[in-house]
Amino acid sequence: GAGVSQTPSNKVTEKGKYVELRCDPISGHTALYWYRQSLGQGPEFLIYFQGTGAADDSGLPNDRFFAVRPEGSVSTLKIQRTERGDSAVYLCASSPLSGYPQETQYFGPGTRLLVL
C-alpha cells in the first residue's frame, strides 16, 4: 500500500518568507509526527498529533512554527518569517493507533527546506 507522502520534496525560499509543508500519512493511521533533521544529525522531534489535536508540541523551537491537522489525516507544518537556521529536512511519520510507545513510526521521504 501507499506509504507516507510529503510535498514538496524540495523547497527553496528567502529569509523572512512563509512556507507550508504537507504530509499525507498512511491511510487509517491515527498518530502523526513531525521531525526535523539537520545536516549530520539524527531527526529531532517537533510535534505529535493524535487525531486532529496536537497532543505534544514540546519540540517546536519557537512560535514561528505551527502545525495543523484539521480533519485528522493530512497535516501541514507552517513556518513564518523563515530564518537560515530553519534549513533542514522535515520528516513526517505516522503510526496506526494513538501513539502507543511500542508502535512503529513509518516515515515519509521528507521535505528539504533551504532558506537563502
Binding site: 539524527g42 522531534f45 510507545p101
Partner: protein, 116 residues
Amino acid sequence: AQSVAQPEDQVNVAEGNPLTVKCTYSVSGNPYLFWYVQYPNRGLQFLLKYITGDNLVKGSYGFEAEFNKSQTSFHLKKPSALVSDSALYFCAVRDASGAGSYQLTFGKGTKLSVIP
C-alpha cells in the same frame, strides 16, 4: 530525559564479513528501541525494534539486534554484509514509562560503508 549515543560516525566493513553498528541508550524507565536505515535522499526505513521478551530481535534484510539491559546497549548486527547495505543507520529510543513517550529520540547516525 532520554538519549541515544552512536559512538561511531562511520563503520567500514568488507563485503561478506559480519558487521556491527553500536548503540547505547539512556531512559528513566524501560526502553523501547528501534533501528532505522536511511538511503540518500530518502526517508527512514524501519528495520527492527525491541519491545519486550527475547533479547535477540530479528528484522528486515537479515539484520538483527541484541538488547543488553546491563550495558544499556542495542547493537545492530548482520552475519554477512552486502554492498547494498551501505547507508546511514539510526538507533532510536522511547521511554515506556510515559515520560516523553510520544517522541522517538534518535542518535546522530552511523554511516556504514561495505567495501566490495
